[in-house]
Structure formats: structure tokens, C-alpha cells
């Protein structure tokens, strides 16, 4: 049986990689993928912890959490793709660094 530490290490590696992707990538699709990687790393960690600390045969809390997160991720992907489509229709691109209408606009005082 593989030690749970390895799972956690893999999980941490995936999380760090996802985070790196979120912070560095400019294409919104890539960022979404990176977010998915981070979610899945979290799933992995939860399942690993369930194996480490889950006492008794019927204890499946970690698994259940993982399943919920997968559901959330699916929903998130659906909404995110819809937003991207909309953004694309408005701006003609989905390059995040080029779209900064949230910034305070210069207005004539």
C-alpha cells in the first residue's frame, strides 16, 4: 500500500501547477483548465485524507466531498464556458489581459 504522503505530494504538486497556470496564463480557456486541475488536486487530497484518517469500514466522508466538488466543477465549467462565449461575442477575443473594463475609467471631473 502506497503511503498517503505520496498522494498528498501529488495533490500539492497538481495544486501548485494549477495555481501557476491561473496566475500566468492569458487565455481564459487555459485558466479554466488550470482551475479544474486545482479542484481535482483538492479531490485527490480529500480522498487521501479519508484513507489516512477514515476509521471504520463505512466512513466515506472524503469521497462524498470529492463527488460534490466534481458536481460543482461541472457546473462551473458550464457557466464559465457560457461566460467566455459571451465575452468573445462582445470583445472578439477571450484574452484576459486585454479585457480590463472593470478598471476605474478615467472620467472628466
Amino acid at each position: 500500500m502506497i503511503d498517503a504522503t505520496w498522494y498528498l505530494g501529488l495533490s500539492g504538486f497538481l495544486f501548485a501547477g494549477g495555481l501557476f497556470g491561473v496566475l500566468t496564463q492569458k487565455n481564459a480557456m487555459r485558466i479554466l483548465i488550470s482551475v479544474e486541475i486545482m479542484l481535482n488536486s483538492a479531490n485527490l487530497a480529500m480522498v487521501a485524507f479519508n484513507g489516512m484518517f477514515g476509521l471504520g469500514i463505512g466512513n466515506l466522508d472524503g469521497w462524498i466531498f470529492a463527488l460534490i466538488v466534481i458536481g460543482v466543477a461541472a457546473a462551473e465549467a458550464a457557466i464559465g464556458l457560457a461566460i467566455f462565449l459571451s465575452v468573445y461575442r462582445n470583445f472578439g477575443e477571450i484574452t484576459v489581459s486585454n479585457i480590463f473594463t472593470l478598471k476605474e475609467q478615467e472620467v472628466a471631473n
Partner: protein
């Protein structure tokens, strides 16, 4: 001379209620009419047309108000005299009941300030006389004022005026008397200024009001002195309560309380008589009375006969006992010379007023002004008798004068109405006999009374006045008596002159434009009502005093009156009356000779006569003296005060202290506001905007930056949690 009858104080609620109705009814109708007048004005403005209630309606309300008063007054008089129980035995000194009812309106329920009605023979007779004359004048006015645009206002004010006089006559104390006295002055102001758009009318109203006001102030000070003295006497336990009641003042004056004798009373009684000088147009405050002719003639008739000008002398009769607290014949107790002052003063003022009024009446040309000056003269006679100690004589003359003078004014009104002119000047009349037979006869009756032709009403009363002067102890009473007899001759002279110039001879008015018409029906009725009163008085007194006939209780009219008022004087005596009869006959003879037969032109054109006439025409410079006094010393003092006002109050206090002070304070607080409060607020704002500007830089709008911030924030939180769990 001070034979006082016994006086009892009794209560009789029925009588008091009826007497109160005499006052209240004309007041209520008067106020109702004034409200109707207000409605008229409002509707006229709203609809922009002349709206006026039917004259029959408003006139009838006005007359009905007085009609109610007459009925009540008759009932009160009959009931009052029937409870006096006069018999042959007690007629010389009857027990007089004063029916008094008071209503305390002050919450304390005590004190002299209260409404009250006192029925004494004096007030009851006056009330009856007043109600009958005022009723007739109202009836007359419905025709005289016909077609006037402010008909409703006229009747409203006239009712109000009469109601005030009722209140004054029936009041039981000096306080209430003063209140109604002032109402009377105010109502007369409204009536004299009835044609107020005319400048002369409004200035006459102001003049009357101001002249009266001088007297009013004097009256008020007199009341205040008496009141404060009664307070003092109450504190020292000599009397039970402070009072202004006529009854108690009379009582205290008669029983002779220490501190309430002539040594004190001469001043208050003089001051109260000062009020009478103003109201009754005695010297020197007579100037307003001729000007008061600016009012409509019914007003003059009412003003001159039984209201207003009689109010002053009626007041004198009311407080008569304060002038004569002691038996004046008993000289041994007279130590203080002031005791003599008030009666002497009144008698001298009265005589001089009578003479001056007579002389002025000689020179006046306006018919109504002749009558006005004659009123002044007759009021002088009444005052003269009052000062001489003849209460009975003065009241006697007051009654006869009230009747014949109202008749004369009503006749004058009929003449003015008939020739359709604002003024009837004697030089533009004449020959009216054939046009106005009724006015001719009634005026003849009135003038015979005024002239004091033997056997007429004025003769008997004037003779009583002269007799009172003869018997008095006034300083120089023989001299005053001669003056009074001369005045009687003058009175006869101008009465005859008035009659001749108005009714006899050729017409001097412009026959093209003036067409005299006979008097209307209501006018004729009113004239004959009062003329019959004069005739009744003349016949009654002739039989009673002159012939001693038909006297139920064995004494003559004058004696009854004396018993009721508590003061008797010697009876009529033909030898004494001869000088005044001669004066009257000479006066009439001269007038007939001069004005009817145009004789004695030498006398008319004599320079001395011209001089006397010129002086009398200027009213003896009394008015001018008053104007001079008002315009020079008073204005000088006013100027001085105005300098103080301008220089000191305006210049220093207002300009320097208050204005500058306010400006300085305002400047300082302005500076404080700008420099400190505004600066602090601005500083706070600057800070916040400075911080905001810096913070704004964080908002880049770049999604990765936000994500980075989230990560950094999360990292910081985790670090903190980790560190806090470690330690």
C-alpha cells in the same frame, strides 16, 4: 342746603334684569346691524356691485332695538316709583330706595371693579327721558337717512351709541361708568365721522375724540385717587372694603369719615369734573361740539339732547355728594379753604361757558352751529346750577333742555333735508313758513322753550337755576347771577333771530335751484312727539309750579324732584323772576326790531359791536389757544424728545452700540466659521480624497491581478492561522 333724604339699599332681581335689558337690547341690535353691514361690504366686493339690505329691514331692526328699550324703561320706571311709597306725610323727606344689583366678573369676587346697575331716582328719570327721545330720533332717522349708502352702518352705530349711554346712566359704580363713558366717546367718534370721506368730517371726529380724551384722562386719575384712598381706609379699618360704588361713596362722604372729607375729596371730584368738562363741552374744551355738526343731523339731535354732552353733567349730578360732603351753611367747620374750591370752580366755569356759548351763538351763521353754541350755553347753565349747589335745579334744566334741544335739532334736520343742501346758512334761508307748516310750529314751540319765554318749559327750569345761584355761597354769586341773566337775554335774542331768519320774511335762497318741500310723514310724527313732550312739560310745570294746581301730593313738581334727589331749594317766586323775564323780553324785542323790521342798523354797524362779534366769531381764541398750546409748547417738548431720540437713541444706542456690536459679533463668527470650522471640514475631505486616490491605483481591471491578490490574501490568512496555532 344739604337736606339729605334717607337712602336704603335694596335688592330686586326682577327690576335689575329689566334694567339690564334696557342696556342690552340696543347693544345687541346695534352689533347685529354692524354684522349685517360687514356682510353688505363683503358681498359688494365679491360681486363688484353695490349690495345693500332692504332699508325697511335694517331701519326696523334699529328702531325696534330702541322700542324694546322704551318698553323696558317704562316698566322699570313704573315699578321703581310704585315701590317708593310716596305719601303726603313723607313727601318732604321720603325714604329713597336704591335698587342695586352687582355682578362681579373678577375671579376673586370682591373689589370695586364689577358690572352693576343702580336704580336711583336720578338714573331712572334720566333713563326714561333718554329712551323716549332716542326712540323718536331713531324713527326720524329712518326717513332722514333714506337712500344713504351706509344706512345699515348708521343704525348700527346709533344703536350702539344709545346703548352705551344707557349703560353709563344705569351703572352702579365709577368703574363701569368709565367703561361706558369711553364706549360713548368711541361711538360718537364713529358717528361724527360718519361721512368720513369728507376731510372736514374726519377731522371733526378726531377733534371730538382728542378733546374728550383730555377729559377722560382727568376722569381716570380722579377714579384712581378715590380708589387708592378707599384701599388705604380699608387697611386702617375705617371702612369695610375698597369701593367705587356710587352708593357707598355717597354714604361715606355723608357720614364723614376721617380722610374721606372735603380736604381730600376736592381734588378727585375736581378731576372727575374735568371729565365732564370734556364730554359736556364746558370752557375751555368746547371746541369739538360745533365741529361735531359734521355728523348727520339725527346724530346731532341725539348728541345734544340726552346723550354724550349730558353724560358729563349727569356724572356731576351722580357724584354731587362728593362736591358737597358737609353742610355748606355751617361755616364753623370749614377750616380748609380747598373745601370751597370745587363748587366755585364748577360754578364759574359754568357761568362763563353759558355766556361765551351765547355770544358765539349770536355770531354763527350755520343753523346747526347756532344750535350747537346754544347747547354749550345751556350746558353752562346746568353746570352753573350744579356748582351753586342746586342739584335739583340742574337736573330740572337738564330734562327741559334735553327735550327742546332734540326738537330743535330735528327741525333743523327737516329744514336741511327739505332744501337739499349740506348746510343751512341763516343768510340763505327765510320764508320757509309757507313751505313747511309743521316744522314751523314745532320749531316755534322748541324755540319758545329755549328762549325761556314765561310759562314755557325752559322758563321754569332756568328760573330754578337762577334761584339756585342766588341762594348759593359761591364767591361772587351776585355777579354770576347777573351774567346768567344777561345770558338768558342773549339766548332769547338768538332764538328769535334764528326763527325770524329761517321762517319769516322773504326767501333768500336761490329760487331756481332750491325748492323746499314739506317734511315727510315719519319726520312729522317724530317732530310732534317731541313737541308734545315740550308742551306737556310746559303745561305741567305751569300748573304745578306757577299756579300750584293739580298737585296730587300737595307739593309742586320741583319739590317732588327735590325730594327724590335729596335736595330742596326755595320755591318759585314771581318777584325774583322779573329780571330774567325782562331780559328775555328785551332780547326778543331787539331781535324782532333788528331782523324783522330792520331797525337799529346804527347799533348793528357800531364798531364796538363789530369788535365783540369778531372776538365771538373766533370763539374767544380758546380753540386757537388750545391749538397754540398743542403746536408750540407741546411740539417744542416733542422736538426736544425727537432730538434725544435722533441723537442719543438712534445716533448712539442704535447706530453705535447695537449696530456696530452686532456687526462685530457677526464678523468674528464669520471668521471663526471660515477659518476654523470650514478648514477642519476641508482637511478631513482632503485626507479622504488623498487616500482614495492612492487606493484607486489598486484597481487595474486585470483579472490575473485580482486572482494574484486573492492568492496573496489567502496566503496571508493561512500564514496567520498557522503562526497563531503554532504559538
Amino acid at each position: 342746603m344739604a337736606e339729605e333724604s334717607l337712602i336704603n339699599l335694596v335688592e330686586n332681581d326682577t327690576l335689575i334684569t329689566l334694567a339690564a335689558l334696557v342696556i342690552v337690547i340696543p347693544f345687541l341690535t346695534g352689533i347685529a346691524l354692524l354684522i349685517m353691514r360687514a356682510i353688505e361690504i363683503k358681498k359688494s366686493i365679491d360681486t363688484d356691485t353695490k349690495f345693500k339690505f332692504d332699508e325697511n329691514l335694517t331701519g326696523n331692526i334699529g328702531v325696534a332695538g330702541l322700542g324694546g328699550s322704551v318698553i323696558m324703561a317704562l316698566i322699570v320706571t313704573i315699578q321703581y316709583f310704585s315701590q317708593l311709597n310716596l305719601t303726603k306725610e313723607n313727601i318732604s323727606h321720603p325714604v329713597i330706595n336704591w335698587v342695586v344689583g352687582d355682578y362681579n366678573f373678577l375671579p376673586s369676587g370682591t373689589g370695586p371693579f364689577k358690572w352693576g346697575i343702580a336704580l336711583s331716582p336720578l338714573s331712572v328719570i334720566m333713563m326714561l327721558l333718554l329712551s323716549i327721545i332716542a326712540f323718536t330720533i331713531h324713527l326720524y332717522a329712518t326717513e332722514y337717512m333714506h337712500g344713504d349708502s351706509a344706512f345699515t352702518r348708521f343704525f348700527g352705530t346709533l344703536n350702539f351709541f344709545t346703548g352705551s349711554m344707557f349703560g353709563f346712566v344705569l351703572s352702579s359704580n365709577l368703574f363701569m361708568a368709565f367703561v361706558f363713558w369711553e364706549l360713548l366717546g368711541f361711538a360718537s367718534y364713529l358717528l361724527i365721522g360718519y361721512y368720513w370721506p369728507k376731510a372736514s368730517a374726519s377731522s371733526a371726529a378726531k377733534k371730538a375724540f382728542l378733546y374728550n380724551k383730555v377729559g377722560d384722562v382727568s376722569f381716570m386719575i380722579g377714579i384712581a385717587l378715590i380708589w387708592s384712598r378707599t384701599v388705604n381706609l380699608t387697611n386702617s379699618g375705617l371702612i369695610t372694603a375698597p369701593t367705587l360704588d356710587y352708593y357707598w361713596l355717597k354714604h361715606y362722604a355723608q357720614i364723614g369719615i376721617e380722610g374721606f372729607d372735603m380736604a381730600f375729596l376736592w381734588l378727585p371730584s375736581l378731576l372727575i369734573f374735568g371729565g365732564a368738562v370734556g364730554k359736556s363741552a364746558q370752557l375751555p374744551l368746547f371746541g369739538w361740539l360745533p365741529e361735531a355738526m359734521e355728523g348727520p343731523t339725527p346724530v346731532s339731535a341725539l348728541l345734544h339732547s340726552s346723550t354724550m354732552v349730558k353724560a358729563g353733567l349727569f356724572l356731576g349730578a351722580r357724584i354731587y355728594s362728593l362736591f358737597f360732603t358737609i353742610d355748606l351753611t355751617d361755616l364753623s367747620i370749614v377750616e380748609n379753604s380747598f373745601i370751597w374750591f370745587t363748587p366755585n370752580f364748577i360754578a364759574w366755569i359754568g357761568t362763563l361757558t353759558a355766556l361765551a356759548g351765547g355770544l358765539m351763538a349770536l355770531t354763527a351763521d350755520d343753523l346747526k352751529k347756532v344750535l350747537a353754541f346754544s347747547t354749550i350755553s345751556q350746558l353752562g347753565f346746568i353746570g352753573l346750577a350744579l356748582g351753586a349747589g342746586g342739584l335739583t335745579a340742574s337736573f330740572f334744566h337738564l330734562i327741559s333742555h334735553a327735550t327742546f334741544k332734540s326738537l330743535l335739532f330735528l327741525c333743523a334736520g327737516a329744514i336741511i333735508h327739505s332744501i337739499h343742501k349740506p348746510h343751512a346758512n341763516l343768510s340763505e334761508l327765510g320764508g320757509l313758513k309757507k313751505h313747511m307748516p309743521h316744522t314751523y310750529w314745532t320749531m316755534l314751540i322748541g324755540l319758545l322753550g329755549l328762549a325761556g319765554v314765561p310759562l314755557m318749559s325752559g322758563f321754569w327750569s332756568k328760573d330754578a337755576v337762577l334761584l339756585a345761584m342766588e341762594e348759593s355761597d359761591i364767591f361772587g354769586h351776585q355777579f354770576l347771577l347777573i351774567l346768567a341773566i344777561i345770558t338768558a337775554g342773549i339766548t332769547a335774542f338768538y332764538s328769535a333771530k334764528l326763527f325770524i331768519l329761517t321762517f319769516l320774511g322773504e326767501a333768500r335762497y336761490d329760487k331756481e335751484t332750491v325748492h323746499p318741500s314739506p317734511a315727510g310723514l315719519k319726520t312729522r310724527i317724530s317732530l310732534w312727539i317731541i313737541a308734545s313732550l315740550v308742551i306737556i312739560e310746559s303745561l305741567w310745570w305751569t300748573f304745578s309750579i306757577g299756579l300750584g294746581q293739580f298737585n296730587i301730593l300737595g307739593k309742586n313738581f320741583e319739590y317732588y324732584l327735590g325730594s327724590l334727589l335729596g335736595q330742596h331749594q326755595s320755591e318759585f317766586n314771581i318777584v325774583f323772576a322779573i329780571p330774567s323775564i325782562l331780559a328775555v323780553l328785551i332780547g326778543i324785542g331787539l331781535a324782532v326790531a333788528i331782523y324783522h323790521y330792520n331797525m337799529l342798523e346804527v347799533l348793528q354797524n357800531h364798531p364796538v359791536m363789530h369788535k365783540i362779534f369778531a372776538i365771538a366769531e373766533r370763539r374767544f381764541y380758546v380753540d386757537e389757544g388750545i391749538y397754540w398750546f398743542a403746536s408750540n409748547p407741546v411740539m417744542n417738548v416733542g422736538d426736544k424728545f425727537s432730538v434725544v431720540d435722533k441723537k442719543f437713541i438712534d445716533g448712539i444706542v442704535i447706530d453705535k452700540v447695537i449696530t456696530q456690536g452686532t456687526l462685530t459679533v457677526a464678523d468674528t463668527s464669520d471668521k471663526f466659521d471660515i477659518k476654523i470650522i470650514d478648514k477642519f471640514v476641508n482637511l478631513l475631505g482632503d485626507w479622504i480624497s488623498f487616500i482614495g486616490k492612492r487606493l484607486r491605483k489598486l484597481q487595474t481591471g486585470m483579472t490575473p491581478n485580482y486572482a494574484l491578490m486573492m492568492v496573496i490574501g489567502l496566503g496571508l490568512i493561512l500564514t496567520y492561522l498557522t503562526i497563531s496555532t503554532l504559538f
